[in-house]
Symmetry: none
Subunit: 213 residues, 2 copies
DNA sequence: CGGCCAATCGGGGATGTCCCTGATCCAGCC
DNA sequence: GGCTGGATCAGGGACATCCCCGATTGGCCG
C-alpha cells in the first residue's frame, strides 16, 4: 500500500510546516498553496489523490477551490480542515463536495489516518462533528430559542435571516441552501416585514444586538 | 547572542510541530503544552524566556495562563498568537500582560524575529494590528490612528468610510456631506480598493473590528 | 511653469436589493 | 372535501451598489 499523495492548502505557513514535519512518512506532499488562486494553479499542475483544504482561506474560502476544481477534476478527494466547528461551515463545505471535515486540534496520527481513509473512499469527521452532520442531513434543525420576535419567523426564514445578517448576497444564500434566488428574496421580504425593518443593514444590527450571529 | 528559550502553548499539535520544524535553529523549544493546566505545570517546571501563547485555548483561554503565571513569575515574557485579528481579543490579552500579539498567518522568519524582539524587551504586533492597539492604550487624544491601512485614505475618504460602515446609503451620505451621489460612489470605490475589500458589508466588519464606529 | 494629487462630478453598465403580484405543492385540520 | 399556512418559484419594476471610463478645479512643489 503506497502512501497517499497530498496537496496542502492553508494560509498558515506554520501549519503547513507542521503537517509536513509530522506526517512526513505517512503521506507524500506533492504541493502546497496559501490562497485560492495559487491552490487552483497548483492543483492543475500536480496529481494529488487528496487535497487537505483549509476552510478559511484568503481569496474566497476553501469552497471556492472546491467548486472550481470539482468541475475539471471530479475524482479529486477533498478533506476539509478548519479551526471552526460551527455547523454552517461544516455543512457548507460538505455540500460543496468535501469528503470529510476535521478540526485543527486533530493529532498527527489521526490526521494521517483520516487522509488515508479519504483516499480509500471513506468519509471522515471529527467525533464532535459527526453527530450534527448526520443530524443536518437526515433530520429537522435543533431546538430554537424562544424569542417573541424570533417566534414570528418560520424555520426557513430564520436560516435565511442569519445568512443575511452575516452579509451574504442572495445568490450566495441560494447556493448555500440549494434554493432559487427568488425564493431567498421571498424569505428576506417576509423577515423584514415581520421584524418591521427596512433593509439588510438594519437586520444586521438587529441580529447583532440579539447575539444571533 | 544565544537563541531564545521558548515554551509553546497551543492546542493544535500540528501548529506546534510547524513552529518546531520551521524555527528549529532560531529558537530553543524548552517545553510545550496544549491546554491551560498543563501549560501552568510545564512553565513551573522549565525556565523559558518567552512563552508563545495561543489565545484560544481549552481550559480557560490564553488569559488564564497569563494571569496565573504573571503572579509567580513576573519576568516571563508572553507573545500572544491567534488566528483572530479582532480588536477585543488583542486588547484583552494585552491588558492581561502579553508583550506582543501576532496572527497565525505570520511567516516563520517573521515569527522568529518577533520572538527575539520580545525576548529583548520590545513589544511586537502584526502590522495590521499595530494601529488600533496603540490607539486603545494611548488614552483620550482622538488623534487619528497611525494604522498603515487607514493612512492610505484621504480625509474625505475617511468621512465617507465611517458613514458607509454605519449603514447609510449613498444618497443619505451625499445629502449629509452636501455632495453628489456620484462623488460618494467615487470615494467608496477608492476606499474599497485601498483596503482590498469588495463590499460595504466587509467594510462594516473591518471598521467594527478597528473600533472606528 | 508643469506635474501631481485631492476633491469634485458625469455616463453607462452589471449586479444586488427589495417589493409587488401571482402561482404551485404539500401537510395538517375541521 | 375545503381551508390554511409553509415553502417553493416566476415576472417585472424601482432603486442601490460597484465598477469602468472620463472630466474639471484648486493647491502644492520642484
Amino acid at each position: 500500500m503506497s502512501v497517499p499523495r497530498v496537496f496542502l492548502v492553508d494560509d498558515h505557513q506554520m501549519f503547513r510546516a507542521g503537517v509536513r514535519s509530522e506526517l512526513g512518512d505517512a503521506v507524500e506532499v506533492v504541493g502546497e498553496a496559501s490562497d485560492v488562486e495559487s491552490a487552483v494553479l497548483g492543483l492543475r499542475a500536480t496529481d494529488p489523490e487528496v487535497v487537505l483544504l483549509d476552510v478559511h482561506l484568503p481569496g474566497g474560502g476553501g469552497r471556492a477551490v472546491l467548486e472550481t476544481m470539482k468541475a475539471e477534476r471530479p475524482a479529486l478527494l477533498f478533506l476539509a480542515l478548519s479551526v471552526s466547528d460551527a455547523a454552517e461551515d461544516v455543512i457548507a463545505v460538505i455540500r460543496a463536495g468535501a469528503r470529510g471535515y476535521v478540526t485543527k486540534t486533530i493529532s498527527s496520527d489521526d490526521l494521517a489516518a483520516a487522509i488515508t481513509r479519504v483516499r480509500d473512499g471513506d468519509a471522515v469527521f471529527s467525533p464532535r462533528l459527526a453527530g450534527f452532520v448526520l443530524d443536518a442531513f437526515s433530520g429537522d434543525p435543533p431546538t430554537e430559542v424562544t424569542d417573541p420576535q424570533l417566534e414570528q419567523l418560520t424555520t426557513r426564514e430564520r436560516e435565511v435571516m442569519r445568512l443575511i445578517a452575516r452579509g451574504y448576497t442572495y445568490k450566495e444564500i441560494a447556493r448555500r441552501l440549494t434554493l432559487s434566488v427568488k425564493t431567498v428574496e421571498t424569505h428576506v421580504s417576509a423577515v423584514l416585514r415581520k421584524l418591521q425593518l427596512s433593509s439588510r443593514h438594519e437586520l444586521t444590527r438587529w441580529a447583532t444586538d440579539r447575539r444571533l450571529i
